[in-house]
Symmetry: D2
Subunit: 192 residues, 4 copies
Amino acid sequence: MKQMEPKNYDFSNVKFFTPAQLSQHYGLYTNYIDCYNNVSTNLQSSTIYNYCNSNYSEIRSAEKSKTFCLDSIKLHELYFENLTGNNTRIYGKIENIITNKFGTYSSFLDKFKCIARSMRGWVIFCHDKYSDDYYIYGQDSHDDGVMLCAEPLIVLDVYEHAYMIDYGTNRSLYINVFFENLDYSIVNQRLE
Amino acid sequence: MKQMEPKNYDFSNVKFFTPAQLSQHYGLYTNYIDCYNNVSTNLQSSTIYNYCNSNYSEIRSAEKSKTFCLDSIKLHELYFENLTGNNTRIYGKIENIITNKFGTYSSFLDKFKCIARSMRGWVIFCHDKYSDDYYIYGQDSHDDGVMLCAEPLIVLDVYEHAYMIDYGTNRSLYINVFFENLDYSIVNQRLE
Amino acid sequence: MKQMEPKNYDFSNVKFFTPAQLSQHYGLYTNYIDCYNNVSTNLQSSTIYNYCNSNYSEIRSAEKSKTFCLDSIKLHELYFENLTGNNTRIYGKIENIITNKFGTYSSFLDKFKCIARSMRGWVIFCHDKYSDDYYIYGQDSHDDGVMLCAEPLIVLDVYEHAYMIDYGTNRSLYINVFFENLDYSIVNQRLE
Amino acid sequence: MKQMEPKNYDFSNVKFFTPAQLSQHYGLYTNYIDCYNNVSTNLQSSTIYNYCNSNYSEIRSAEKSKTFCLDSIKLHELYFENLTGNNTRIYGKIENIITNKFGTYSSFLDKFKCIARSMRGWVIFCHDKYSDDYYIYGQDSHDDGVMLCAEPLIVLDVYEHAYMIDYGTNRSLYINVFFENLDYSIVNQRLE
């Protein structure tokens, strides 16, 4: 496991978010990078593999945090990357996929937003490589409810930390604002 | 979401497992198929999207079970598929990857087995498409601790239902027996 | 935190369970005692409180396992204690409570058994001290879905390890057998 | 299961919290009351017990949400009740318990605050009725990591929704501010 560095994102065109909300969210992301790097260092040690126990052990703790933090890093990078405020009108390959699957973009939006209000961590529109199908699905935390073999296309953070500074408990408004910032050029790149 | 059918597996060369253990395990897998098909049917209804709530709602329940059962189906199919009793000696591309990453196959086995004794659901050796790296990682249940964007190569079920009929609580022995049945031809196919 | 010792149970009148099932289950219980004692020792160290982090830290790992293992110890002791094969006919104060709440014992049994088939870890009939009400409720693991302030009266383990050696995946049969062994004298003592 | 009503709290002496933070937090609490009442209504129906399944069923969904929301209601009521801004200097029976167990109040505070920074949902100082001992322990969500048989004495919400409007991601500052508002008169009443 290599050491990681946080990536940088350009939020200059992101609408309806304050710098406080975005910068504090970004700060949490860097904490997950630190977590991953700490785990990575500890897993270099051979002694951590000397006591293997599913109730309580250092290796168990490291493995739990490895996946938790690595999932969180990936999800935050995918989220920040598709939150630019540019190219917010759907077009191209993603438009074809969504209209084939849901009939209309509006029907897709209704379902995505409903699922976003019904889960506690993340909402994702993905290609499932295993079944070669497309799904909207939700997670309750960074590592709880992840869809195995999914290739994320649209990624929305619905953790309270993503919106509470700007929107308080008004998650519905935050979800609407997300789609006013979602960059379909990035989403189409993920389909290549 | 399409309806699914359970796949069939040939366990005739699998060693050190009784037909009772294997057939009851297979029966659980068919339950997950039923679950997925029920969820799939319920998600066809447009009324399920009328009430969206992260504390208690039909859509929440369907979404939770969709991922839980779909993850479980994928993991069980990958497990049954790589548990044949044939081609149990490591070779080919997977051998190169493992020796590059862990030095020796024996060192890989020590780490994999330790993690398998420290987690509560599944242990997986995977290619992480996101970071283009390889990891052994463990899950505590079908949907808890899944690594996002992972492409599973070696899949071991460590739920109690996978071994208790044959091995009681002796999970270490079960893990050893798994490697006496692991089909490296299947693992190499997953790398193509 | 004091060191703990496993308690002993007399299973000599327990019907329809093999010694293998009961002794291996008891062995898992002693593992939770070991876990608790290890955590307890590590929490004596003052250095464990030097690094406090909710993504990855020794204190986090110790705290997670402390509650997991302590809950598991309590639940197993309550389960083994009420699984004697004696006094299996309902009577006394618990009978009054159940018939007041559910109309008939048979109606209670139907609901309890249904919930026992719908959860993944434990099913409990309890007095909720906070609301001064009675509930059947279920947990998905030792520490997931615990009812805060509950005083357990009837405790049934539905982890796969509780029945797979004797009943395979036939959980319904195991649940029936539990009630042929449930000691209502013990349950009534818990109401004093 | 009876229908519930939200309780009212007097936050007029609470320091260093804005009305926005407190009122939005209170609003979330009323959502949990709604959840409980919905579950309660659905559990009146006898048809919900007709299909019992641990992968996907209405009874499973209702039972999961029953405990989640009931735990959340209890915890929020205990939290709001002990957050008054009055009687913030430790005294009485709780002082004796804490100094007996931790040596000094300062040592207790250090440990409590460290655990509060290491968990994801709640931190609680409780009397464990089962072992007749006292513990600081933490939960990762309303229903994950609850200590069975615990009688809560000091209850601190560390969900992001408890502090993000006022403190952003600065959880350490929020934890300090909690102790400047903790009402030891309420805590002592819980010991009676």
